[in-house]
């Protein structure tokens, strides 16, 4: 594990991209950081993600654009989306590196499109919905959720943390939509989605452990 970002005394190693031994940066670790950002808005977790990804994105963007300023814009826009939209990441669809790559791919597409100055051209999100809330629930994800039987949910949901249980009970037992739960509890839709996702992950673990 990498250490918490020191508040005042920034040690010189801290920003070096090779400061953490590469074996620490597993996809699971990166996914855990994304979950911390999504659920707790953890700045420390985001700083660690940023340290890992920003220099890689810059390298990618420089190869794509050959223009340093545009490359930096791509890095900033990509990581800004990671900070605000971490709840849209779903481990079932791929690794954090793949998810962040698809965000960068979309931003690159839109930068190239805007340089052609045609407002009506198709946007990256229309082609590859990576960051659209309503499109992020692919049929695949839905299919996976369906495999968890109601009965199994009812026998395990007591073992979930309160916040996750509340969401799961509303959706799977009371049959409400994620939007209704969001309105009712007064929490953002994104939070409902990430709690559902984390809860289903947990339930899956519980169910498999028992099989």
């Amino acid at each position: 594990m990498m250490q918490v970002m020191p508040e005042k005394r920034v040690n010189r190693q801290y920003m070096k991209t090779n400061s953490a031994s590469p074996q620490d940066i597993t996809p699971e670790h990166l996914a855990a950081l994304l979950a911390e950002v999504a659920v707790q808005r953890s700045r420390r977790a985001f700083a660690e993600l940023f340290k890992h990804f920003a220099p890689r994105l810059q390298s990618f963007a420089t190869r794509q654009f050959g223009n340093e300023q545009t490359a930096m814009d791509l890095v900033q826009e990509t990581m800004t989306n990671v900070w605000h939209k971490a709840h849209l990441f779903s481990p079932e669809k791929g690794s954090p590196t793949t998810w962040i790559f698809t965000i960068a791919r979309n931003i690159r597409f839109d930068i190239l499109r805007k340089s052609k100055k045609n407002q009506n051209d198709i946007s990256a999100e229309e082609l590859w919905p990576v960051l659209s809330e309503e499109m992020s629930d692919s049929d695949d994800e839905f299919a996976i959720d369906q495999t968890i039987l109601l009965q199994e949910i009812t026998s395990y949901y007591n073992q979930l943390p309160d916040a996750q249980r509340e969401v799961i009970v509303s959706i799977y037992i009371e049959g409400k939509s994620q939007q209704e739960v969001s309105d009712e509890l007064g929490i953002p839709l994104g939070t409902v989605k990430s709690r559902t996702r984390l809860a289903l992950q947990k339930l899956r673990e519980l169910i498999t452990d028992h099989d």
Binding site: M15, F50, F53, V75, D121
Partner: protein, 220 residues
């Protein structure tokens, strides 16, 4: 069973975001319909992301710290207003469900118009330099034999058509190279396809357009 798929080169360009946008809609729609290509595209995504984000550059500490602060203090990016989404299209009294990739761009679909030979078309306005259309062929319809100097991609959304080479069913993706000659037709079953033609500009003006009956499928 889907028999015809985009080749790997097309899938790679699709994942990279380097494919012509209108062709990307056709390939994306095929991926929606084809589990095989969906898995293949995901594999490509995994490999490509590991490769593209595998190396890092030296990033100055100051720049990095400043950008990090900027991001942590930024407002959430605006969510663009959702567009009108159509679940299905209706042509000649028949309804067809749209795969997700087409639903997402359904607000770009123009009106249906009739083309000689029991064929209807509705243009999809993806950008100003691409030609992609939904083409509906009634039962027993035929498109005049044609060659093209461009590439042509056809995806069967629903139904069956054939040409002198083969028969094509739901999900089949047919990519024809330049100077390829064929004449698509339907038999007892009708057929809805999504068809893309490369570099339409040569067709859009003058005699070539009037002389080529095929061009009426793509251009008004």
């Amino acid at each position: 069973m889907i028999k015809f798929h985009p080749n790997e080169e097309l899938l790679v360009q699709y994942v990279q975001g380097n494919l012509d946008s209108a062709l990307a809609v056709v390939v994306g729609t095929h991926i929606d319909m084809c589990q095989h290509c969906k898995a293949h595209a995901r594999d490509i995504e995994t490999h490509l992301s590991a490769k593209e984000l595998g190396a890092s550059t030296d990033f100055s500490e100051l720049t990095m710290q400043a950008m990090l602060e900027d991001i942590l203090n930024s407002a959430a990016p605006a969510i663009s207003a959702p567009q009108q989404i159509l679940d299905k299209v209706t042509v000649e009294g028949k309804q067809f469900r749209l795969p997700p990739a087409l639903k997402r761009v359904s607000h770009r679909l123009g009106d249906w118009s009739k083309v000689p030979g029991s064929v209807w078309r509705a243009p999809l306005k993806v950008d100003d330099h691409s030609a992609v259309n939904l083409i509906y062929m009634g039962a027993g319809a035929s498109v005049p034999e044609h060659t093209h100097r461009q590439h042509e991609a056809t995806l069967v959304i629903n139904g069956t058509f054939n040409d002198e080479h083969d028969r094509y069913h739901d999900g089949d993706f047919v990519f024809l190279g330049a100077d390829h000659r064929h004449s698509p037709q339907t038999a007892e079953e009708d057929c809805l396809t999504l068809a893309w033609l490369d570099a339409p500009l040569q067709f859009t003006s003058g005699m070539a357009r009037l002389l080529n009956p095929f061009s009426s499928l793509f251009f008004k």
